[in-house]
Amino acid sequence: MKILVPVKRVVDYNVKVRVKADNSGVDIANVKMSMNPFDEIAVEEAVRLKEAGVATEVIAVSCGVAQCQETLRTAMAIGADRGILVQTDEELQPLAVAKLLKTLVEKEGPQLVILGKQAIDDDANQTGQMLAALLNLPQATFASKVAIADGKATVTREIDGGLETLSMSLPAIVTTDLRLNEPRYATLPNIMKAKKKPLETVTPADLGVDVAPRLKTLKVEEPPKRSAGVKVADVAELVAKLKNEAKVI
């Protein structure tokens, strides 16, 4: 079976972004870009399923600007077999990405699509659920364990009160949580090999998808600043401050 893994190019998680002075957005010129951390986990999971003989092919997909090729190469260095770039300079919102992915699922026929639960730039947490809805497929979001057997997926999910396990038939949509696995580091030989793997480029128009944004960003602002308070000398001073100054205990 094939597994499709959508991977998003985002500002690296170590970068503290700055809001532009004109409040039009955040400044991402010259900042380090990486694969969304949840998507690395998704690629790792797919590659492990291939190594375990459950999957036969892992296809990475990225939607966005030409530089998303780098993200796809990273996925291939972890072990994805090939990449598809849906190239556009337009802003892509989750519903548009889900529609693009739907056409690719229909074309490639994967039994499993593994996405990240959330992109760390828009913090939307939508695309996987939307893709599942558009395809009318079962979904297992926030996965911390995935087992595939007999045409079924058994997925443990992280929920507010603890954990739950769902069973569903394939094809299915899974989104990853942090504790699903620890992605490997790509080795130099694998990075070199990834450069030779097939990478196909299509456009939203080729796929017949209207990607026009539905939400308009009117402005982007700094959050209210929290200023550092005081250092207390010892526990006694801390308790006194909490009682008499902050009045929270």
């Binding site: 500002v11 972004v17 955040v26 949840f38 919102q93 989750p94 519903l95 760390i120 730039d121 828009d122 913090d123 939307a124 947490n125 659920q129 939307m130 599942a132 809805a133 558009l134 079962p138 297992a140 979001t141 926030f142 911390s144 999910r157 992280e158 929920i159 507010d160 009160g161 603890g162 954990l163 396990t165 769902l166 069973s167 569903m168 949580d177 942090l178 539905r214 939400l215 308009k216 960003t217 402005k219 982007v220 700094e222 959050p223 929290r226 550092a228 308070g229 005081v230 250092k231 207390v232 010892d234 526990v235 006694a236 801390l238 308790v239 401050k241 909490l242 902050a246 929270v248 205990i249």
Partner: protein, 311 residues
């Protein structure tokens, strides 16, 4: 304006996050209906009708809603979405699971985790782990929204006198089956609703230290327990203790961060707390940049001393 709020409940009562979500609905303004979907959830529906500001509770009660699975719940919401201008749920794992499915079926965007209602079509929401706040406007005919509960003070649980109307259940989609659910049992206040949170990080060293040091302190303060991702990953505590960008977002009166460095992903989940205390032996730790009261100390000395001082 006509608003549908999806309730979260345990069949007997309505969860706290729904009260914050109703507050967001009130900020939008208009008639507010509450949808209660479950199996044997009549008592929750009755409780919902008493909440201030709810005009009508709509109840769908059927066996296949028992698990709150996204596929069945979303299908029901979509089937009953007619006439509503806004559909809201809390940005809990339940709301996050169901609402994008609703939005896609209605072919509209979802507006995730709003913290402010600017107007009926314009909302503010954090992006980049809360390092920026975007103001977004939706042109869609129906606004499908999840609400960050810390952004809105809850409405009163009582004082309302809404009507209760039964809805026809939809067909069972049969797409997923719940095999097992393991909920963390705790006598403590719920993390999302607690007034005081004692939170521990990797500095505690192991799960035994976490429990033996933080539980007595939390007991004294009647606090909920939280954790950094590092503490959860290392297995000190279950996953649902995690506070942060990808865990729970909390804003208690008092947040005590113990042995937590203050990575941006952690700050994203707690920096709106009213008072922050940090105990860390590294005076350069970034947590001190947001802490109202910082104590540079070895936690193995400071925490027992603090617990004792609270007498």
């Amino acid at each position: 304006m006509s608003i549908l709020v999806i309730a979260e409940h345990d069949n007997a009562s309505i969860k706290a996050g729904t009260l914050n979500t109703l507050a967001a609905a009130q900020a939008i303004g208009g008639d507010i209906d509450l949808l209660v979907v479950g199996s044997g959830c009549g008592a929750a529906a009755e409780a919902g009708a008493k909440i201030a500001g709810v005009s009508k509770v709509r109840v769908a009660d059927a066996a296949h809603y028992a698990d709150g699975g996204a596929e069945n719940v979303a299908a029901l919401v979509v089937a009953n979405a007619g006439g509503y201008t806004h559909i809201l749920a809390a940005a809990s794992t339940f709301g996050k699971n169901v609402m994008p499915r609703v939005a896609a079926q209605l072919d509209v965007a979802q507006i995730s985790e709003i913290v402010t209602v600017v107007s009926a079509d314009t909302f503010r929401r954090p992006i980049y782990a809360g390092n920026a706040i975007a103001t977004v406007q939706s042109a869609d005919p129906v606004k499908v929204i999840t609400v960050r509960t810390t952004g809105f003070d809850p409405v009163a649980e009582t004082g309302g006198s809404g009507s209760v109307e039964a809805l026809d259940a939809g067909a069972d989609t049969g797409l997923t089956k719940l095999v097992n659910r393991e909920l963390t049992k705790s006598e403590r206040p719920e993390l999302g609703a607690a007034g005081i949170i004692v939170s521990g990080g990797r500095g505690l060293g192991n799960g035994e230290n976490y429990h033996s040091l933080l539980e007595p302190l939390a007991d004294k303060l009647n606090a909920a327990l939280g954790a950094s991702r590092a503490a959860v990953d290392a297995g000190y505590v279950p996953n649902d203790y995690q506070v942060g960008q990808t865990g729970k977002i909390v804003a208690p009166q008092l947040y005590v961060a113990i042995g937590i460095s203050g990575a941006i992903q952690h700050l994203a989940g707690m920096k709106d707390s009213k008072v922050i205390v940090a105990i860390n032996k590294d005076e350069e730790a970034p947590i001190f940049q947001v802490a109202d009261y910082g104590l540079v100390a070895d936690l193995f000395d400071a925490v027992p001393a603090l617990t004792a001082a609270l007498g």
